[in-house]
Symmetry: C2
Subunit: 121 residues, 2 copies
């Protein structure tokens, strides 16, 4: 049996680049991803995927067209499909994402920040 | 727009009973559940659902038929469908679960610990 636990701080120590999610687990067609970022991402939405953001360390602001929600450690937010959003972090933040396998980080937008394939970690 | 963040420690403070998961979020047909427990659960498996256990506070032992994995804070484990498992905690632990909506806590087993319907929190 190849069941192994994943230690999140230890996985986070393996990379330092921003806006480049790693895949840390997969179940039921969904993936658990880990990402670090600082600065401003782009406005985008996902036509067919809801997306969960859970703050592991630090904090960031999730911008919506009609509000901004500050997400701090041990808080999560679900962005429903079709809803435009833009993550912005004034300092480095580490986030766990839970979303369908194959979800593209920039959604319907093609951009230099788009990461069509992700590394497993 | 009804998007709201979820603060996990604050949700955990709302209940104290064991082996009775609450639903804290739903996306893509999956649910985020919060559960506290201490003591020994029952051996069971889920025919069609993989199940993620993420330790928020405390620690517990996940028993498999061929090994025991101790899960501590900030660690997670994915139990693939069909694999028998039994969570055991010597002290209280708080765990986040990710799994398909409708997953029954005791899987294929009917037991006094079975919780066929779960409260939202």
């Amino acid at each position: 049996m190849s069941i192994q636990k994943i230690n999140i701080p230890s996985k986070l120590s393996l990379f330092s680049d921003y806006f480049n999610p790693r895949v840390a687990g997969e179940l039921n067609g969904q993936q658990v991803k880990l990402v670090k970022f600082q600065g401003e991402f782009i406005w985008h939405s996902h036509a067919n995927e809801d997306e969960l953001f859970y703050v592991l360390k630090g904090k960031f602001d999730m911008h919506f067209r009609d509000q901004i929600i500050t997400l701090e450690e041990n808080e999560f937010l679900i962005v429903p499909r079709g809803v435009e959003h833009k993550p912005v972090a004034s300092e480095e933040v580490a986030v766990l994402l839970f979303e369908p396998a194959g979800t593209i980080n920039t959604g319907e937008m093609s951009h230099e920040l788009t990461r069509p394939t992700l590394e497993n970690i």
